[in-house]
């Protein structure tokens, strides 16, 4: 079969099982857009390339399948970089195709030329410039393989305009030749046995899992593992949904805005079992005081995460799911379980006492100002913890993590590593495309949302019923909180009192706009939004100066938490 480069791309995507891409056209990808038109491939038009990549990212996180984005050369690619870097930080499998000026023009500073491969090298797992159409099909095959295997991540394929229009014989390769790229999935049996022996001797064990548990699809195994042991379990921002947030073994999230009991448990434990997590600074706080009394087990598919910042006693390189299956196999024949559970009973009592001391809680007065936590709590109650939640970055993100007890994996979609404001709305669009019949709610900040608000038009065009709940406090709230606590309340550059009328903005873009500023208005607004068939923007005007607690100030040990605004 003889096809042009553009047609090869479409056929290759179909071979990979891709049925939708998110993109924005331009000069260097006109042949590809022509092939999209002629061959009838589903394309969702983002209004900005950053949005297109976040959509592909949200699609990947919600579906567990790779997301695909298409952008043109030069400024389109530079716009896409924020999205690519976001996916890179959170290890999300996406494949981004970018247009490039024709091969003879490369390096001549041509119109809309940029060194796409050079620009994206530090923020991709791998990238390619396809200079010869005969390499295109194989390159796409390799790109999808690399994006989705091992520790997943974004891969960029840069296609010059002439390559996209050159015909060549098309065979989609069945195999790839990457002899030296062999991610290790199988956890080492000896290490697994050693790990379990250490766990069963523990008096104060804690499981701490992260995004790796979600990415490897290990939720069922993880749940079986913690239930069999009956072990206290905490998770990172990226791990939310790995076990249900209201599970009896769950201590809630740990880290900077984690629960007191989770941080104390990790601080005082004698065995820490890290699963698909990377000891991020938002988790550890002051590094040399992090979990000082514990022996550490670390399961991760990426060898570079092991001993990167924290010393580990028993490292296990392997896929989280594979390693947990091995642990479960060993546990099936284990006779010491009852003794173990007996032994850790005082530890559970201690953890419960910490929880009594400082629970995650808020108090909404009927006549008082609307509290952001109350809004999240209402969304949680009305969706029974079963909605797909996307967030932007800031206070609202942390409140959502604290109060929305996600029931299932792939339902919590947030920019954890890079902390990209503006991620929420486009990733919700991608998630809704991946899971059309399901409830998708974007918990947004009034600062973040304005960065990618144009994608509301995409949601309107595609009739995607995403519900955006703006936690509108008229500040860049997290910045204001730090300025209040650490910069003597000098509010510098974080005041957003001049902002849009969100209801009118929603209407101007063809969506429904709703507003609530009192506690009793929240439920009716949410009911109306959920009953509406299209996208909705909800402006929740919350208490402007509410701060997010508990909090570990940056650089402090994670057990030293603040619980409320300092007096005076």
């Amino acid at each position: 079969m003889r096809l042009t480069g553009s047609e090869i791309l479409i056929h290759a995507l179909r071979e990979e099982g891709v049925d939708v891409m998110f993109g924005h056209p331009g000069g260097a990808v006109l042949f590809i857009y022509d092939a999209i038109h002629k061959l009838g491939f589903r394309h969702i038009l983002a209004r900005h390339e950053q949005g297109a990549v976040h959509m592909a990212d949200g699609y990947a996180r919600a579906s567990g399948r790779p997301g695909v984005a298409l952008v043109t050369s030069g400024p389109a690619l530079t716009n896409a970089i924020t999205g690519i870097a976001t996916a890179h930080s959170d290890s999300i499998p996406i494949v981004v195709f970018s247009g490039q000026v024709p091969t003879p023009a490369i390096g001549s500073d041509a119109f809309q030329e940029a060194d796409n491969v050079g620009l994206t090298r530090p923020v991709t797992k791998h990238n390619y410039l396809v200079k010869d159409v005969r390499d295109l099909a194989y390159t796409i095959k390799e790109a999808f393989h690399i994006a989705t295997t091992g520790r997943p991540g974004p891969v960029l394929v840069d296609i010059p305009k002439d390559v996209s229009n050159t015909p060549c014989e098309f065979h989609y390769p069945r195999e790839i030749h990457l002899e030296h790229y062999r991610p290790r999935y199988e956890g080492h049996w000896g290490q697994v046995k050693k790990a379990l022996a250490l766990i069963l001797q523990a008096e104060r064990p804690v499981v701490y899992f992260g995004g790796g548990a979600i990415l490897s699809g290990a939720s069922a195994e993880l749940r079986a593992f913690v239930e069999t042991l009956g072990v206290p379990t905490t998770y990172t921002l990226m791990g939310i949904g790995g076990i249900p947030g209201d599970h009896p073994c769950s201590l809630g999230m740990l880290g900077m805005h984690g629960t007191y009991r989770a941080n104390l448990a990790v601080d005082r434990c004698d065995v820490l079992i890290a699963i698909g997590a990377r000891f991020d600074d938002r988790v550890t706080g002051k590094l040399d005081e992090f979990s000082r009394y514990s022996k550490k087990i670390h399961i991760d598919i990426d060898p570079t995460t092991i001993r990167k910042t924290v010393h580990v006693d028993i490292p296990i390189v392997g896929d989280v799911r594979n390693c947990l299956q091995k642990l479960l196999k060993l546990l099936a024949d284990e006779r010491g379980l009852e003794r173990f559970q007996q032994r850790i009973r005082p530890w559970w009592a201690q953890i419960e006492a910490w929880n009594q001391e400082h629970p995650i809680a808020y108090e909404q007065r009927a006549e008082g100002e609307l509290l952001p936590q109350f809004v999240i709590d209402k969304i949680y109650q009305m969706t029974h913890g079963e909605a797909v939640i996307t967030t932007d970055v800031g206070q609202h993100q942390m409140w959502a993590a604290q109060y929305y007890h996600c029931k299932a994996p792939n339902n919590w979609i947030t920019s954890g590593g890079l902390g990209t404001m503006g991620f929420g709305l486009p990733s919700a669009v991608g998630a809704q495309v991946a899971r059309p019949g399901e409830r998708v709610v974007c918990v947004a900040g009034d600062g973040s949302l304005l960065m990618t608000i144009q994608e509301l038009v995409t949601a309107v065009e595609e009739r995607l019923p995403v519900k955006v709940a703006i936690i509108n406090n008229r500040y860049l709230g997290m910045v204001r909180q730090w300025q209040q606590l650490m910069y003597d309340n000098r509010i510098s550059g974080s005041d957003l009192h001049v902002g849009p009328d969100w209801v009118k903005l929603a209407e101007a873009m063809g969506a429904l706009g709703l507003r609530a500023s009192r506690a009793d208005e929240v439920e009716p607004v949410l009911e109306k939004a959920f009953a509406h068939p299209g996208p909705v923007l909800m402006d929740f005007q919350v208490r402007e100066t509410e701060n997010c607690y508990p909090m570990v100030p940056a650089g402090s040990p994670s057990a030293k938490m603040l619980f409320s605004d300092p007096v005076g």
Partner: protein, 158 residues
């Protein structure tokens, strides 16, 4: 502590910047880096000299392995490998120092590869210490320029 890391890479477009970018992006140092073809035209060999504590070197080799184009990365322990460097030194000695320069060349088993009425170009190979020593001796005698390859390394035995 100085380490010599031997790296085999796929001879792909941009592979050098992937390797050097990993070092600069993560704040690791490159003391010297040498790239050359191998017997297999699809594979190149890099010798990278770097320094850092054991944890840093462990991370560097892991991060190198993580690059898709890297086939192997081996951190050589002292004594495990033969390391050599080639240097070319241009000297313009005064007439009465020319004989002294030639004597030094002989002691270090160097070679004169270019000669003019006022200058020599000397070729010398050896460990880094040897070349450092020779450079120090030639400095007061009119050393003009030093061009070094940086160390190359190969494992001892099979």
């Amino acid at each position: 502590m100085r380490h010599t890391i031997s790296v085999l890479v796929r001879n792909e477009f941009g592979v050098l910047s992937r390797v050097s970018g990993m070092f600069s992006g993560r704040g690791y140092n490159i003391d010297s880096l040498n790239v050359a073809p191998t017997l297999d035209p699809k594979v190149s060999h890099m010798t990278i000299v770097t320094h850092g504590d054991d944890d840093t070197i462990e991370q560097i080799t892991k991060q190198l392995h993580k690059l898709i184009d890297v086939i192997t990365a081996k951190d050589f322990a002292a004594g495990e490998f033969v390391g050599r460097e080639l240097a070319m030194l241009k000297v313009a000695p005064s007439p009465d120092a020319r004989a002294e320069v030639l004597r030094i060349v002989e002691i270090f088993r160097g070679k004169i590869v270019d000669v003019s009425p006022k200058s020599f170009v000397i070729e010398v190979t050896g460990g880094q210490d040897k070349i450092d020593a020779m450079t120090r001796l030639l400095e007061p005698l009119g050393l003009q320029q030093v061009v070094r390859t940086g160390p190359l390394a190969v494992a001892r035995g099979l």
